[in-house]
């Protein structure tokens, strides 16, 4: 073996750096950054109105999402025909992929309308059931009207003037085909109340009424975003925000002391090397392997009206009729049930951390303390707890952060009767389909977690730090 050459750089740490950095970016920083962006950026809330019905045209004004607008007219802008539809060549446009997917084919049809008058006009291709073309692969030349009576329009576009109405199953001649993206000419008001007019693609707009003189609609979504504190403000102003925050904090205050006391006692029991304490370890570890939703359901079934608890109390003759524990009127019972479930579920993880910490405390320290006259309480107070500080710190950080995220158990036991922060994030995302608000709540939980972690790290200084 040759000795390592002097002065040669050790590259190993740099190789280790690569996967660590990749991990950090891919699994941590990037998703978190995206979430935070969601909380502060409304995507698609602004619709740009343009001078002409094309994407490159100058912007005449901006209208906010869900604003009421008047649709003054429409125009079908030809785009490249989707490959599936065979037909006449269309001029390729540069409206991009989104436009292409929003494009629809229209047919120019000729035939007899309901008043038996000859007409010529445009309908969406979907109105027509095409007959087989005469030559294979050739263009469609005839078809019939599908299902309902249909309006035929002077040019492609849903609000173009109606030139005729055709009855169902009327045979028509297909005189031409055009694949277009519909643009509306829109009149609406900007944030500052100014009335602006301009063109916007139909996919951003929802048409409300086509009757009457005016065609009205609203901005379904915009084509550009903005940085905003709106979601944060809305979260703080949310009716459920304060109750959710209070419940979350209340649960932490109730659960953590019980958990740590219990976990510490359990860990000491395991360390005492009593006969059969491996059995204790297995029993204590069962909740570790149980999902939190399952735990919630277990405790829910304990506390329901016909649950274990009521049956037990009735069986013992302590109560005559079942007590309703989990209702909005008995919030304290709901909190109690959640506390019990959480204590049951998550105490073992604290215990495992404390046990590993205890195992790192050499037996001789405890023996020395005992020999120099320390009682059990004094050993705990002066030797075990100080030496356990690093483990306790880890457990505290872990448990508090997880307590801010408490979700499954609360959802299973209390449903909508009680809400916590994570519940609100879920509700906004799933029920109200508002990822921005969900991100705002998530970001708030993240902020609380980070503050807690920093607080713990600074307040419980480990011995290594105290040395400096």
């Amino acid at each position: 073996m040759t000795p390592p050459r002097r002065g040669k750089t050790n590259l190993t740490p740099y190789f280790l750096l690569l996967p660590s950095t990749l991990f950090l970016i891919l699994f941590f920083a990037w998703p978190m950054f995206q979430t935070m962006v969601l909380a502060f950026r409304g995507e698609g809330v602004i619709l740009n109105l343009r001078e002409a019905p094309e994407n490159g045209a100058a912007v005449t004004g901006q209208i906010r999402q869900s604003a009421q607008v008047i649709l003054l007219g429409n125009r079908g802008i030809p785009v490249a025909a989707p490959a599936a539809v065979s037909g006449e060549e269309e001029a390729p446009s540069e409206t991009g992929e989104e436009a292409a997917s929003a494009a629809e084919p229209w047919y120019l049809i000729r035939g007899l309308d309901m008043a038996n008058q000859a007409f010529e006009g445009w309908v969406p291709a979907s109105y027509i059931r095409e007959d087989e073309p005469e030559t294979e692969g050739g263009p469609f030349t005839s078809g019939s009207v599908r299902r309902r009576d249909r309006d035929v329009r002077s040019e492609p576009g849903p609000i173009s003037p109606v030139v005729a109405q055709v009855a169902q199953d009327t045979a028509v001649e297909i005189a031409g085909q055009r694949t277009v993206e519909i643009w509306y000419e829109v009149q609406g008001q900007t944030d500052s109340g100014e009335t602006v007019t301009g063109w916007a693609p139909s996919r951003y707009l929802e048409v409300l009424s086509t009757g009457g003189e005016q065609v009205t609609g609203f901005v379904n979504r915009g084509d550009s975003g903005e940085w905003t504190l709106r979601y944060i403000e809305r979260m703080f102003a949310d009716r459920e925000f304060i109750p959710a925050l209070i419940t979350t904090l209340l649960l932490i205050v109730l659960i953590l002391p019980i958990q740590f006391l219990l976990a510490f006692i359990m860990a000491l029991l395991l360390q005492s090397r009593l006969r059969g304490n491996t059995l204790f370890l297995y029993v204590f570890s069962i909740p570790l392997a149980t999902s939190d939703l399952a735990v919630g359901i277990i405790w829910f079934s304990v506390f329901t009206q016909s649950g274990f608890l009521n049956s037990l109390l009735q069986g013992l003759g302590l109560i005559t009729s079942p007590i309703v524990y989990l209702s909005v009127e008995s919030k304290h019972f709901m909190i109690l049930a959640v506390v019990l479930a959480e204590v049951w579920r998550a105490t073992s993880i604290v215990m495992v951390i404390i046990v590993s910490g205890l195992q790192a405390v050499p037996e001789s320290y405890l023996e020395a303390a005992e020999l120099f006259g320390a009682s059990l309480w004094q050993r705990v107070r002066y030797v075990i707890l100080p030496l356990l500080k690093p483990s306790l710190q880890v457990a505290l950080i872990l448990r508090t952060i997880l307590a801010f995220q408490v979700f499954g158990v609360v959802l299973a036991i209390a449903g909508r009767g009680m809400t916590v922060l994570a519940n609100e994030a879920y509700r906004w995302y799933v029920e109200f389909r508002n990822p921005n608000m969900a991100a705002a709540y998530s970001g708030f939980i993240l902020l609380l977690s980070m503050i807690t972690a920093i607080f713990y790290l600074r307040s419980i200084r480990t011995q290594e730090e105290a040395r400096e």
């Binding site: 050499p362 001789s364 005992e370 020999l371 320390a374 030496l387």
Partner: protein, 364 residues
């Protein structure tokens, strides 16, 4: 101040008998060393006295008070642990004060005793430090200071110097001896280092397989080992053993080793009669043989195999009959390998042992 009386103590770990019927009395203010190879039960015995591992049977009393099953803090003992066991999260001051604090001594008393103990061990400058900022020798001092800060009847020391390097050990050995002489505490000191045992103890109790083989003053243990094991365990180099046969020449009994007839001291005569015609083990220490470069009367001619100059003496490895033994000579003694020298065995230095049991004949 108190006497420690250990009576018929047994301790088992599963099927292993760690301490086997041990009885030992440590007199008031006496310094007894428990010496033995690792696994001989010496630490187990010490822990039984400390109350950290209760014996399975037997009786331990300290100063006329039975303490066999009392917790450590009711025994009036203090202890120095092998790995020091000083608390890493406390300053030196708090470590030394620990025993006093647990006894709820008042602040002035704690301070007085901590400073006294720190002064005795020369660590008064380091009272505000944490153990991690100290060297092994300094931590050792803290551990001893903690043990002597509380005034107890008994001081127990479990291999206190074994974690120190050789030079530091030499220094601490003398210092500990002086300190303990000043303290007048009854002390049990556990070690596997025979030099430590010889140099420090008032008496040495040699242990093997959970039993005490001999408990005597260091010089006695060294000079008159109770059996072959002790002779071989204590001393550097260990005692030499030669296999010989008891034979009668001209009416008197000799031990015949090869061609050489040894004449032991007359006090062995009665014992030798019992071994007439049988084999015995002759034990003699390296420094107790006389080496000569010229032939002499009663001297045995031997060939030098190895010469090891050690500075203060020179060790010669020689072969007598079947046995290879070591012989210590003055460093000036002229010897080279493959040279013939003459060796004389002084009668009063010869020890005889039973070849089966290893027991010394005539052992006190």
């Amino acid at each position: 101040m108190a006497e420690i009386r250990i009576e018929n103590v047994f301790k088992y770990f599963g099927k292993v008998t760690a301490v086997n019927n041990v009885s030992l009395t440590v007199h008031d203010q006496e310094f007894v060393v428990l010496l033995g190879p690792s696994g001989c039960g010496k630490t187990t015995l010490l822990r039984a006295v400390a109350g950290l591992g209760l014996p399975d049977s037997g009786r331990i009393s300290i100063g006329n008070r039975e303490v066999t099953y009392l917790p450590p803090r009711e025994r009036s003992i203090s202890m120095v642990f092998q790995n020091y066991a000083i608390f890493p999260h406390m300053t030196v001051y708090d470590n030394v004060a620990f025993g006093l604090k647990m006894r709820k001594a008042d602040k002035a008393e704690i301070d007085r005793n901590v400073r006294r103990a720190a002064e005795m061990l020369h660590i008064e400058e380091m009272l505000e430090r944490f153990p991690s900022q100290m060297s092994g020798g300094q931590r050792q001092r803290v551990a001893v200071a903690r043990a002597i800060a509380i005034k107890t009847d008994v001081l127990l020391m479990d291999e206190p110097l074994s974690n120190l390097d050789a030079l530091l050990r030499l220094e601490m050995r003398a210092e500990l001896k002086r300190l303990l002489a000043d303290l007048h505490t009854t002390t049990i000191y556990v070690t596997h280092d025979q030099i430590e045992a010889l140099s420090m103890g008032d008496r040495i109790a040699v242990m093997r397989n959970g039993e005490i083989l001999q408990c005597d003053a260091p010089t006695t243990v060294y000079d008159q080992p109770a059996n072959k094991f002790i002779g071989g365990f204590i001393g550097n180099p260990p005692m030499n053993f030669l296999l010989g046969q008891v034979q009668r020449h001209n009416g008197s009994l000799h031990v015949q080793v090869g061609d050489y007839a040894l004449k032991p001291a007359p006090i062995y005569d009665s014992e030798l009669k019992r071994y007439d015609g049988q084999q015995v083990v002759v034990g003699i220490r390296a420094e107790n043989m006389e080496a000569m470069s010229q032939p002499a009367e009663d001297a045995l001619q031997v060939r030098v195999m190895v010469v090891e100059p050690l500075g203060s003496q020179t060790l010669l490895t020689i072969k007598i009959h079947e046995d290879i033994i070591k012989l210590a000579t003055h460093p000036d003694f002229p010897a080279v390998p493959d040279q013939d020298i003459w060796v004389r065995f002084p009668a009063e230095k010869i020890r005889l042992m039973d070849p089966q049991s290893g027991k010394t004949l005539l052992s006190s």
